[in-house]
């Protein structure tokens, strides 16, 4: 049942040139998207994974389930990719591992990408999808966790703020994997295994469009962080976003949010997307799933009557 995995140093050695080749500002976005989607096909899914395409809000989505134990709770997952690339396909493996370990359905959303659709299109899509999960899929708002990696982490954080302040709905929890929550932040380092500064600037500019760089929907780390649910924040030690992720974790804790900050010394930026190939990435997803599962269980009525 276990799919074969590849050793972590080998994975790093293979991924570095791939990302270095395609994450370039001069390569058209549609080419970058196509290459990423193609490469993602070699990622195996855990056995027993069930997928159901659906529409959330007005966007395509996919419900991924593996080993569902019937408990309440679900995850809305926002994929990464610098607000400009990435898809349901690139993050299906991560979502399937998350679904397997939480034993809850994970909804992957195909939100609108920049530069065709700059901020706040992605956040609007995420909020609409969350509301559709409540209305169409029958989940209680407090039972839905928001999760995302990289740009998806930024979208998840912005969507959570929107839901809390505009709709009075607080999600069950947040899981932010290598979140990019302040695109205007200039990192010290030039590149890591996955991303480089020049590509990051191009993405940040594409996503900003004609907007304001201080808009909380663009840079949710600068927004109102009060009232957020328990949040899992993860960074890779050697990624260029690390400093801004640590800053976000500190800001969240200062605002009174329960924060679990985790830093992985050996993995790279959003390595959890390779959960199907790298054992350490799968282990990391399991740790995230553990955090979310505890939140789901704490919120279930059975648990409430016990306490």
């Amino acid at each position: 049942m276990r799919a074969p995995t590849i050793p972590l140093p080998l994975a790093r050695t293979l991924l570095r040139p791939l990302y270095r080749t395609i994450f370039r500002p001069r390569i058209p976005w549609r080419v970058q998207r196509a290459v990423l989607n193609g490469v993602a096909r070699c990622q195996p899914l855990p056995t027993g994974t069930l997928r159901r395409p659906l529409v959330l809000g007005e966007r395509a989505a996919e419900r991924v389930v593996a080993d569902h134990d019937g408990g309440s709770g679900a995850v809305l997952y926002l994929h990464g990719g610098g607000y400009t690339v990435g898809s349901i396909g690139t993050h299906r493996s991560l979502a399937a591992h998350l679904a397997k370990r939480t034993r809850r359905p994970v909804y992957l959303l195909d939100y609108r990408l920049a530069p065709e659709h700059p901020c706040p299109a992605a956040v609007v899509d995420a909020v609409e999808a969350f509301l559709a999960m409540v209305v169409d899929e029958g989940h209680s708002p407090g039972d839905i966790a928001l999760a995302g990696d990289s740009a998806g982490g930024g979208i998840a954080l912005a969507a959570a703020q929107w839901l809390i302040h505009e709709h009075g709905m607080t999600p069950a929890a947040l899981a932010l994997i290598s979140p990019w929550s302040d695109p205007a932040f200039v990192p010290v380092r030039r590149r890591d295994v996955v991303v480089n500064r020049a590509w990051g600037f191009a993405c940040a500019g594409a996503y900003l469009g004609d907007g304001d760089a201080l808009d909380w929907r663009y840079a949710p780390a600068q927004g109102d962080l009060c009232g957020l649910p328990p949040t899992y924040v993860l960074a890779a030690e050697e990624e260029i976003l690390r400093d801004q992720i640590v800053e976000l974790a500190v800001a969240l804790r200062r605002s009174g949010t329960t924060v679990r900050y985790v830093e992985s010394p050996r993995l790279w930026h959003a390595a959890q997307a390779q959960a199907g190939l790298v054992r350490q990435a799968a282990d990391s997803v399991r740790d995230i799933a553990g955090f979310l599962t505890i939140r789901f269980l704490q919120r279930s009525p059975k648990c409430r009557t016990l306490t």
Partner: protein, 285 residues
């Protein structure tokens, strides 16, 4: 490997300037090796980030805002750390500031400010903690000097002098510990160009653009990550090295300075023209 980690596991390490750069990387590296950490910085913002990262590695961390130029505060802090942790094993004198300015353009107060932090700060810290280090039976003083504590560079007179001074103080301390057979080891660290905030936070003499100088320094001379520097320091401590020079370029320049003390001055002057950190007005860049 277990034996190696005994150098740090459960040991109490004090790090000044732990809010950023080499100090933060040192704290994180030591946290991963099981040290108990007393971290301080003059600004509390970065300190919280360092603590967050160390706690993610399961370390016991105490953070305090401390200005190493306030001697009384440093003395009180040393006793406080001793009381809270029960012992003090390693002190990393890392806090430092940079300043750029030619001799004829800087004020006395600029030089004094550099010395207050880079030299007197270290002196205060060593004198305050030394009794506790001796008492622990397993003490180690680690002072972060600089490559500029080994070679001189135009425009760095104040910084150069402070880093040479701190090197002299530290090396003499090591000799005293050897002569007196005290259980305290001493390591002097000379990092080359590290990407830290020290250049970016530097001030410059009037009429010079500190930000532009810092940018040039970062682009042309900052070759290594703080993490690499931290690993080198920790390795030096583990191996009980008296001197740790970080970076191939720093080691090469160190050799040059010892081979030809006068020639290395010329070389430094030439190098400053090549990298054009801050050309004097009226001279060709």
């Amino acid at each position: 490997m277990t034996q190696d980690n005994d150098v740090f596991a459960g040991k109490v390490a004090v790090i000044t300037g732990a809010g950023s750069g080499i100090g933060q990387a040192l704290a994180v590296e030591l946290a991963g090796r099981g040290a108990r950490l007393a971290l301080s910085d003059v600004a509390s913002d970065g300190l919280e980030a360092t603590a967050m990262r160390c706690q993610a590695r399961g370390a016991e961390v105490a953070t305090d805002r401390l200005d190493v130029t306030e001697r009384a505060a440093v003395l009180a802090y040393a006793d406080d750390v001793r009381a809270r942790f029960g012992a003090v094993n390693q002190i990393y004198n890392n806090a430092g500031i940079a300043f750029y300015g030619e001799v004829d353009r800087q004020h006395q107060k600029d030089i004094e400010r550099v010395f207050d932090v880079n030299f007197w700060g270290v002196v205060a810290s060593i004198t305050a903690f030394l009794p506790h280090l001796i008492e622990s039976g397993d003490g180690h003083v680690i002072t972060v000097s600089s490559l500029f504590g080994l070679i001189t560079f135009p425009g760095q007179s104040a910084y150069n002098a402070s880093k040479f001074a701190v090197r002299g103080f530290t090396e003499a301390l090591r000799q005293e510990m050897l002569v007196g057979r005290y259980p305290v080891r001493v390591t002097c660290v000379h990092p080359g160009g590290i990407r830290t905030a020290v250049a970016r936070n530097a001030t410059a003499a009037e009429g010079l653009d500190a930000a532009a100088i810092a940018r040039k320094f970062d682009q042309r001379l900052a070759l290594h990550s703080p993490e690499m520097a931290a690993r080198a320091i920790v390795n030096g401590v583990r191996r009980r090295r008296a001197r740790v020079v970080i970076g191939a370029e720093a080691r090469a320049l160190d050799r040059l300075a010892r081979l030809t003390p006068v020639g290395s001055q010329r070389f430094g002057a030439l190098l400053s023209r090549v990298v054009a950190i801050a050309p004097r007005p009226g001279t060709r860049p």
